[in-house]
Symmetry: C2
Subunit: 128 residues, 2 copies
DNA sequence: GCTACTTTTCTACGATTCGTAGAACTTTGA
DNA sequence: TCAAAGTTCTACGAATCGTAGAAAAGTAGC
């Protein structure tokens, strides 16, 4: 129920990365810098978005339950409700739950996991 | 890159359920019947969609790579490209891959898996 | 081969979501 | 109290999705 658009995703990435609460302005600045998402070389520098744009997506993310804001301070400060790992794990669970035969899905899932991930899983499952 | 709408989902569910190839007409009929998705009692019977509607979503699903059709036969026959389990497992992988620290995600994921699922996983991972 | 019927494709429209941001309102600092 | 900074409201264009008619294409019987 909460798939993210491109900008929403970028904002969440920032909130997840440095995970103190940030203001809309800070985020806007970081968004301009952190436009690593393409292969073209130097010279390129992400253009600044309007702060209102950032505020809009922050509000939308808040409505989706991914972000919470401190309303007390005046420049509101925003932060992710849960860590990226928690959020991602939760998403994985949602996906898993969308199929009737969860164990069959897990079987396929395990089949395509890397060796080191498999090792991680073994440890997590309480085995040597 | 391939999230499904409600009707698209319903169609995939049908294709996944009885998984011989089906025609648009068959699917439309099943869609009318298989409207179990609400609590109101008898009398209710999903209204028939136009066949063109079903054909449209089938085309869209085909474009998304979830469905393939036999173009040879005249009423084209449609079927899911991969099983629901495969598809779901693949989705889980996509989600997992969307985070930088996959192992951390797996840790959280395992934390919220049921006991029997954990047991399944242990077996799948090659342990007694 | 022509005609009636079936099936598929094309086009389209309303609703929702998302990127984007201006206009207007609110709060704060001097 | 006034200007600057911040927030909310409103909006618009693109994309997606449910929905389906109109038109085109194939099929079957005559």
């Amino acid at each position: 129920m909460a798939s993210l658009g491109e900008l929403e995703r970028a904002v969440m990435d920032l909130l997840w990365a440095g995970h103190e609460a940030a203001t809309a302005n800070t985020l806007r600045d970081r968004l301009a810098t952190t436009t690593e998402a393409n292969g073209d070389a130097a010279g390129h520098e992400g253009k600044e978005l309007a702060v209102t744009t950032v505020l809009t997506v922050l509000s939308r993310l808040e409505k989706k339950g991914l972000v919470e804001r401190e309303r007390g301070t005046r420049p509101h400060r925003y932060q992710a409700v849960s860590s990226r790992e928690d959020h991602t794990a939760e998403l994985m669970h949602e996906v898993l739950g969308s199929a009737p035969d969860r164990e069959a899905v897990l079987a396929r899932f395990i089949g395509s996991v890397t060796d080191s991930e498999a090792e991680t899983l073994r440890k997590l499952l309480g085995h040597i």
